[in-house]
């Protein structure tokens, strides 16, 4: 069952060939048997899942309308709310925070009868590229347990790669869905900014954050996007456009398609990464596409402007965590200032503190012009450069990450960690849809990812290109050997 795509699983359930209860039990058993090796989950919602499964089986018996994701187990990154369940954001600060409402995306998934099986691990408050910054535990890469699954949505990526569930949700601010997808050899998608509601997603950087799905099949990604890609009246940045039938238009010939590659920007890539990427471009040529050279040198400023803009927004988004209304309030505090100081001192991890300090600094009087304003101007330039590039091509292709996964603890220098996002940040800065799809392995057990970026609202096109690549290469069908077994009840 674990090898089945979500859309097939759903069909089997609807036809009555498998019950929701069976799906739930098999899923929960697999996780209980294997997750201690990986640590994908922070909180397994066993009771809720079993309860929803029972209700779903009832509904099917009575002939009720079955949703697009009926019976499909989905894992949710633990920075999105499910009403009544704890949302920790992998932080000590929110250790006991019970969500008073559900995020729009989790509501939409449950309306389509998905089974929300658990909350997955992440870098604390989504700040990181390896899930090593979680305040609870580190998640391992199912392909190589000594390595990271990437971050910040490492738990969700690992869960899907290990086939604990066919789908998971993550959030992507500078690459936090795409990079873990690449590291774990799965499909990770960041939609056009505003396509998916951020209501109920604990904000990191408001103008960059987007929620998106992980899967093993582009078709499944398209299916989930049909469900969560809606206008939301509770999110003012949500696009007021109708939902699109992404999964209906997947098959499309790439004959004559123009794919732009910023070759000059890729010159510094390690040899193996370069080779893998070049092979992927050959695949597109065989599919009928033409590869052209484009100029995206401006991406070299990605990391700098990201760490100014994202941290500035984050410093204010995280100001609400003050120990006054909810979350951790330090027991040592005796004055108001101490409530603020000690609660935040004890509740936040070092990376979070670092970014709040940085964000506060770049907005402060005397520095704002040099840092925040300047970065905003470069942001505008980056948006323009992408627009210029898209006048010459329909799709941009670059590697998702310069390297494949790395051993846990091997990157200590924060700047070196930040550079992991050099290829992914651009799509967040410009609000563009972007996908990472498996493009093989560059070392024995280390998956590598290919990234496709399209103009805003060209989400359908990305699915078409990605689907074609997937059909041709079948890299997505590789399963980490240690997790490719059935659990017999």
């Amino acid at each position: 069952m674990h090898r089945l795509p979500a859309h097939i699983l759903r069909d089997l359930f609807c036809k009555g060939e498998i019950s929701a209860e069976q799906i739930a039990e098999t899923t929960l058993k697999r996780i209980q048997a294997h997750d201690h090796q990986i640590g994908a989950f922070l909180n397994l919602l066993s009771e809720r899942t079993r309860h929803q499964a029972l209700k779903l089986d009832e509904k099917r018996k009575k002939g009720g309308r079955l949703g697009k994701l009926a019976g499909v187990p989905i894992a949710i990154k633990d920075n999105m709310h499910i009403e009544g369940e704890i949302t920790t954001c992998a932080s000590k600060f929110l250790e006991n925070y019970r969500a008073p409402y559900s995020a729009t995306v989790t509501q939409l998934l449950e309306e389509e009868d998905a089974l929300l099986i658990g909350k997955t691990n992440l870098d604390e408050f989504a700040m990181g590229s390896s899930t090593e910054n979680s305040a609870y535990h580190k998640t391992k890469n199912p392909w190589d347990l000594s390595c990271t699954p990437g971050g910040s949505s490492g738990g969700s990526a690992a869960a899907v790669a290990a086939r604990f569930c066919p789908l998971a949700l993550g959030s992507d601010t500078g690459g936090s869905i795409r990079q873990p997808a690449a590291f774990c050899g799965i499909v990770g998608y960041k939609p056009t900014y505003g396509r998916v509601s951020r209501y109920g997603l604990v904000a990191f950087a408001s103008s960059l954050d987007q929620i998106g799905p992980f899967s093993n099949y582009v078709a499944d990604t398209a299916l989930v996007m049909e469900v969560i890609g809606r206008h939301c009246k509770n999110d003012s940045t949500s696009l007021n456009i109708p939902q699109e039938p992404y999964s209906k238009n997947l098959s499309h010939s790439l004959e004559g398609a123009l794919i732009g590659v910023p070759w000059r920007f890729l010159e510094e890539l390690p040899e193996k990464s370069k080779q893998n990427f070049a092979d992927s471009m050959e695949t597109f040529k065989r599919l009928g596409a033409t590869i052209i050279d484009i100029d995206l040198d401006i991406l070299k400023y990605s990391v700098q402007i990201y760490y100014v803009l994202a941290t500035a927004e984050a410093s204010t988004n995280l100001a609400r965590f003050d120990g006054i209304r909810y979350g951790k309030r330090s027991s040592r505090a005796t004055t108001l200032d101490e409530v603020y100081d000690f609660s935040r001192q004890e509740g936040f991890g070092p990376e979070v503190k670092k970014r709040i300090l940085l964000g506060t600094y770049v907005l402060s009087s005397g520095y704002k012009d040099a840092y925040y304003q300047k970065a905003q101007k470069v942001r505008t330039l980056m948006i323009k450069k992408f627009q210029e590039a898209f006048q010459q091509c329909q799709m941009i292709a670059i590697p998702t990450s310069p390297i494949s996964t790395f051993p846990i603890g091997s990157i200590q220098d924060p700047l070196q960690m930040y550079l992991q996002d050099i290829f992914t940040i651009g799509a967040n800065i410009a609000g563009l849809p972007a996908i990472s799809i498996p493009s093989g392995f560059i070392e024995d057990k280390r998956p590598f990812g290919l990234q496709l970026i399209a103009p805003q609202l060209h989400d359908t096109k990305i699915f078409q290109f990605a689907h074609a690549f997937e059909m041709k290469t079948k890299y997505n069908q590789a399963i980490p050997p240690s997790f490719d077994d059935e659990v017999h009840s």
Binding site: C89, T237, A319, F321, T360
Partner: protein, 487 residues
Amino acid sequence: MTDTPYRDWEPVIGLEIHVQLNTKSKLFSAAPNRFGDEPNTNISIVCTGQPGSLPVLNKEAVRKAIQLGCAVQAEIPLFSKFDRKSYFYPDSPRNFQITQFDQPIIVGGSVPVEIDGHIKYFQLHHAHLEDDAGMLKHFSSFAGVDYNRAGLPLIEIVSEPCIHSPKEASAYAMAIKAIMQYLDASDCNMEEGSLRFDCNVSVRKKTEKGLRPKVEIKNLNSFYNMEIAIENEIRRQIRAYESHPNEHPKNVVKSGTFRFDPDRKENILMRQKEEADDYRYFPEPDLPPIVLTTSEIEEIRASLPELPFERLTRYRTQYQLPDNTAQLLVDDKRLADYFEEASSVYSQPKTIANWITVEFAGRFKESGKSLLDSGILAFHIGKLVELIETGKITGKIAKSVADDMVAHPGKDPEHIIKENPDYQPIDDTSSIEPLVDQVLAANPQSIADYKEGKKRAFDFLVGQVMKLCKGKASPAIVNELLNKKLQ
């Protein structure tokens, strides 16, 4: 202004007025906009700063802001935006306020106010939308926060430093209050906090062009107290400069914030500000900018109700009310509406205005209540005047009737008269005629004077008849009889 009491010093005052808009819900969430409910009952995930919550702009608030912009002839930019203003305090649910820093919805504008017989146009710098903070309440061993007020829509109206006396300050503030009331954009209730003022006060020599250091005064809960607080500060600064004539102004008057103590009627220093607070403003990424069209704005402009200054002009020219009376009525929309309702019963505006602003107001002065909240119907005041003007009762009796109306609010003056025989005019000619004869017999000189054309003699005779019958005779009948008998 002629001889000012400040010698060769000129006070320079700017007002920042915060007005709570009376929208149904808060500025960025659907939580109800209501005063006086139990703490933390009118809240939502947005106004308690829950993680994952997002602001959604209240369109009604934008509309009211545009109405204000039109009412003060301001520029209403087609593009304005929100900014985050960061500071930590328990009454702030997100530890940043959403406000408009450099591209507000209203720019400039002017407010005409009548002062000492001429019109002064007070200039606005701008007005912007922002959300209100919660309220801290201090108990014996802890403090509590009530977030009912957090997130309420405020419009902050910032004047240019074009106010030059405490009297001008309160006149300007009253004009703003009146405009907001007339637009039905706010309850403007100072006791409930839907109207709050902060003043910035500095002084300079009349010949100076630049501005000297200013001081902020907060916690002003009435126009009267505002005038006292400003006057205190003007005097303090003048004294300071005069006792340190050779020092640089910024070393004499230091920037700071004062709080007005309404019991001691003193300004108390809250904090000295050595440097400006750094709020780290940046554009609010969760809200798109406000983009308006000219036709939207013009539609709102075309649907503006009559504004206070327009009404003032109308009362002067159309009703010929004296200046003070007109201003008094106009300043409070409810009172002006009350007056118009009374006038619709009987059209004698000057008299009605006098009954409202002098006679009845005087009767409530001691109790501190207002005619508007007394339960006396405007309709009844109109009736009272009608009864006087049509000669059914005398002016003297009318005053007693008014006393009764105050004692029994809501009672119809016609019923009051019916129930009290003393008020009923004697209107049968046969009982009055002997009295007229009596007076004529006793005053031959007056008859002679009248025959010579002295009108006053007639009024004297009328008065004498009234005296005899204790004011109860129908004036119409007395007049008629006297006229007849004097032919």
